[in-house]
């Protein structure tokens, strides 16, 4: 077959052309193209890595922030709790103190009252004694005059004393 | 005339066989790709290589049929 018979001329020229192409492109074209592509790829991968790293950093920061916020909240809660406890303690204390004070005041008042009562009684006793002496004096003075009159006078004075 | 038609029948048989084979490859490859789209580029390469091998054999046969003719 004509179509399947290789012709030496074309084989020669094809070899020549292909070798020239291979050598020229290998020397002048492919290295710079491939190098440029490689450099770009590496840059892109570096950039991607950087972006990844930045993302991770941001995430870490976010986590830290969240942690800090959580801690702050916990602290706040603790403080609040403490305050509440303190408040109740103070209240309790105050209540106790107030109770004691009132007790004390009450006792004092009682004591005073007792003392006053005592004083009053003493005074009354004194007065009664004095009055009795006076009465007795008067009676003794009157006794000489009239019997009936004695009784009447004593009664009058006793009545008078009651009014006092 | 008889010899030519014999060659023609032979060529037809070659084409039939090659078409069946390549069709089967294409079918399986597409099924595999739809099942696992993530490795479709690998499947595609394998498909093309397999189809090319079948094609090579059938072209070989065609050339032989031509030469015998």
């Amino acid at each position: 077959m004509e179509l399947l018979t290789p012709s030496p001329g074309l084989i020669f020229w094809t070899s020549l052309t292909f070798i020239i192409l291979l050598l020229v492109l290998r020397k002048f074209a492919w290295p710079s193209i491939l190098r440029a592509l490689k450099v770009r790829e590496e840059t892109i991968s570096f950039a991607l890595e950087d972006a990844q790293r930045a993302k991770e950093e941001v995430e870490m920061m976010e986590q830290k922030r969240r942690k800090i916020i959580g801690e702050a909240r916990k602290e706040k809660d603790a403080i609040l709790k403490e305050a509440r406890q303190l408040k109740s303690e103070i209240l309790e204390e105050a209540k106790e103190a107030a109770g004691k004070e009132s007790q004390r005041l009450l006792e004092k008042a009682n004591q005073q009252i007792e003392k006053q009562k005592h004083d009053a009684l003493a005074e009354m006793r004194e007065t009664i004694g004095r009055l009795s002496l006076e009465i007795a004096e008067k009676i003794l003075k009157e006794e000489l005059s009239q019997d009936d009159k004695h009784k009447k006078v004593i009664n009058t004075y006793l009545r008078e004393m009651n009014l006092n | 005339m008889e010899a030519i038609s014999l060659t023609a029948i032979g060529l037809g048989l070659i084409v039939l066989g090659a078409a069946l084979g390549i069709g089967k490859i294409g079918q399986s490859a597409i099924e595999a790709m739809s099942r696992q789209p993530e490795i479709s580029s690998k499947i595609q390469t394998a498909m093309i290589v397999a189809a090319a091998l079948i094609e090579g054999v059938s072209l070989f046969a065609i050339v032989v049929a031509w030469l015998v003719d």
């Binding site: 004509e2 001329g9 074309l10 193209i33 491939l34 | -």
Partner: protein, 356 residues
């Protein structure tokens, strides 16, 4: 609908074949086979255009190409023009030269062509290193490739970093595709980059020649990548690339077949050995047959108009050949890809240290 169309088409073509065989003797009958063969085989002139001028004379415009012959231990240079319109054979040293059926033959001074019983010419022929149509279009493709990639390289050297613009934006994914999906996916990591320039050159050389072959008018239309000499040469380069850099394991695997019982070794070793040559041979045949078949189909579809001598079939065949052109565009890149991919695959197999 489509089936009806196909049946109609088949009917018409079969009718037409009968018609053409009946009227083959008629004046103006079209020799489709000769036409197709003329288009897909090499030639010593580059056909530009044919037309009939207003005086009714047919005009053929074609570019004459240099003819370079090796005869009597020296090179002879001619223009192919001097053979096409020659009345007498051209002198070459002591012999005479005639161009017959696209080949040069040495004859006597009268230009007698001697044919044997089958019609093949028995005259001796000189070694032909002419710049034929195929060689010219190959040189064109080489110049195009050099222009494209040297300017791209310069642009990369100048701009480098920013994303590519214009033409480089088209080239870059292709280069990356060859580097990543062909070389690096088939060849071991540490060896892949060494083969990338070779694979890139191979890929773009085949692709651009496929594309030039599809262009139907003047600077294209050669059937270079559908020529067995071209594909054979590329297959030889692939063969060299596969075997020169092969690892020891590869040769051991072929000639010793480790781990096999002896009787199987006897069978396997010759098979593996033949396989070394079968691989590039299949590459050669595949590219040749695919591209030639595409050209033949397109030309046949166009020829149908002239075989039927009917203008009404023209839309059908133009539509079909348009579809074929689209398919050929795909085939052009696909075959370049397959040739390169399989070369890379074989290189990967032969260079890998691990068991395969």
């Amino acid at each position: 609908m489509r089936i009806l169309f196909i049946i109609f088409f088949l009917l018409v073509t079969s009718l037409n074949l009968q018609a053409s065989s009946e009227h083959a003797e008629e004046e103006g009958a079209v020799d489709a086979f000769g036409l197709i063969m003329g288009h897909i085989s090499d030639s010593h002139q580059w056909h530009v255009i044919d037309y009939t001028n207003r005086h009714g004379h047919p005009v053929h415009i074609s570019m004459p190409l240099p003819v370079i012959l090796w005869h009597d231990n020296q090179l002879w240079f001619y223009s192919s023009d001097s053979f096409f319109h020659a009345e007498h054979p051209v002198k070459i040293g002591n012999d005479h030269l005639v161009l017959e059926d696209g080949h040069f033959y040495l004859t006597d001074h009268e230009g007698t062509i001697i044919r044997d019983g089958q019609g093949s010419i028995t005259n001796p022929s000189p070694l032909d290193f002419s710049i034929t149509k195929n060689v010219a279009s190959m040189i064109l493709s080489m110049l195009l490739l050099l222009l494209i990639f040297l300017s791209a390289a310069k642009a990369y050297a100048r701009y480098g970093m920013p994303p590519p613009k214009g033409f480089r934006a088209i080239l870059e994914p292709l280069i990356l595709f060859v580097r990543d999906d062909i070389a690096r996916s088939q060849i071991d990591e540490d060896k892949a980059d060494k083969f990338v320039p070779f694979l890139l050159t191979l890929f773009f050389f085949i692709w651009i020649n496929n594309l030039i072959g599809i262009v139907p008018f003047f600077p294209g239309g050669s059937n270079l990548s559908g020529n067995i000499s071209f594909t054979a040469t590329l297959a030889v380069f692939a063969f060299l690339a596969i075997n020169i850099f092969a690892s020891k394991d590869y040769w051991k695997h072929i000639f010793i077949a480790p781990g096999m019982p002896f009787p199987i070794k006897i069978l396997l070793v010759p098979l593996e050995f033949v396989g070394i040559f079968i691989k590039p041979f299949a590459l050669m045949i595949r590219l040749f047959a695919n591209i030639t078949a595409g050209h033949i189909i397109i030309l046949s579809l166009i020829s149908i108009i002239f075989i039927l001598k009917s203008i009404y079939i023209a839309p059908v065949s133009v539509l079909l050949s348009l579809v074929m052109f689209m398919l050929e565009l795909l085939v052009a890149v696909l075959q370049a890809y397959i040739f390169t991919l399989l070369t890379a695959l074989f290189i990967g197999m032969s260079t890998s240290k691990t068991e395969h």
